[in-house]
């Protein structure tokens, strides 16, 4: 009874929302972004928004990611992975050969972010996929995802972002207002740190942090 009432209420609210839709003819911010694109240091409008015009939002975003990773680590909620299969000839052959290809692809995505779709998040997700492929195939990672060094890599992304922002602020500019000559180099360096950090963080989150000892 209550569920039916709730269902009807949701349907009514949905119809009301559709009827409330304003006339969507607003031009959006695309024109302003293209007008300022030349000063952003990159040619991709999305990267320009993410790492230049609205870089502070991206800093908050990676801070949320770091917070989620640390909170998950503190819960010790990971469950043990199942035992490796006896014979995994295909995986034994495939995984080591896939490794350099996927790394190359992640590097390409990182570099492509400055001129076309790509960037730290896409590259980081690719790295995370690679790490998960290794973990799920019971490859012994010489550095487990919850080891000190892996966690340091995960935190290095937001920290380097903060260092860059603080440096621009100390140099008398606004926080994260890059000096013109350095813009592209700084954006690419932040994206490189973020790629590694997002890769480790997502893989860590996907495996549930660490096991209760």
């Amino acid at each position: 009874m209550i569920k039916m009432l709730m269902g009807l209420l949701t349907i009514a609210a949905g119809i009301w929302l559709v009827l409330q839709l304003p006339a969507f003819s607003a031009p959006g911010l695309g024109a302003q972004v293209s007008a300022q694109l030349a000063s952003s240091g990159v040619q991709s409008p999305v990267t320009a928004v993410l790492l230049n015009f609205r870089a502070l939002d991206t800093l908050y975003e990676v801070a949320v990611l770091a917070l989620a990773a640390n909170a998950t680590l503190s819960l010790k909620s990971a469950t043990a992975l199942p035992e490796a299969a006896e014979s995994a000839a295909m995986l034994d052959w495939l995984v080591p050969r896939l490794l350099p290809v996927v790394l190359l692809f992640a590097g390409y995505l990182w570099w492509a972010g400055s001129s076309r779709p790509g960037g730290a998040f896409q590259a980081g997700t690719t790295v995370a996929g690679l790490l998960l492929l290794l973990v799920l195939n019971q490859r012994q990672l010489s550095l487990p995802l919850d080891s000190r060094i892996a966690r340091a890599v995960a935190m290095a992304g937001p920290l380097w972002f903060l260092v860059v922002g603080s440096a621009t602020a100390l140099a008398g500019r606004a926080f994260l207002d890059y000096p013109d000559a350095w813009t592209k180099a700084l954006i690419l360096s932040v994206e490189a740190f973020l790629t590694a950090a997002i890769g480790v963080t997502l893989a860590l989150l996907a495996t549930g942090g660490r096991q209760e000892s």
Binding site: I2, G14, S25, G28, G30, V33, V64, T72, K76, S77
Partner: protein, 102 residues
Amino acid sequence: MTGVEVPLIYVVTGIFIFMRGLYALFARPHLLHKLVAGNLAASGVFLVIAWSPQGGPPDPVAQALVLTGIVVSVAITAYAAALLVRLEQTSGKPYLEHDPDK
């Protein structure tokens, strides 16, 4: 409804997906259902934000917003799933105490 120049289907579908998720968020007692429902509702919001006006190039600010939203939602989902696992380990129940089905 004259004056609506965007492909209305994205917005209407987005609202439908959001409402479907919102309903399940309240109606389903199992916390895993709630987690999936929350993600579903978020996807509806992303769909509404990411429409491309008048078939032109997508708004880069909207794209950046949705990209940020997806990453945050993945991180929060993972954390919520870890909390859920922990709750089941400690209380033995994957739902909160006030279960409307009981």
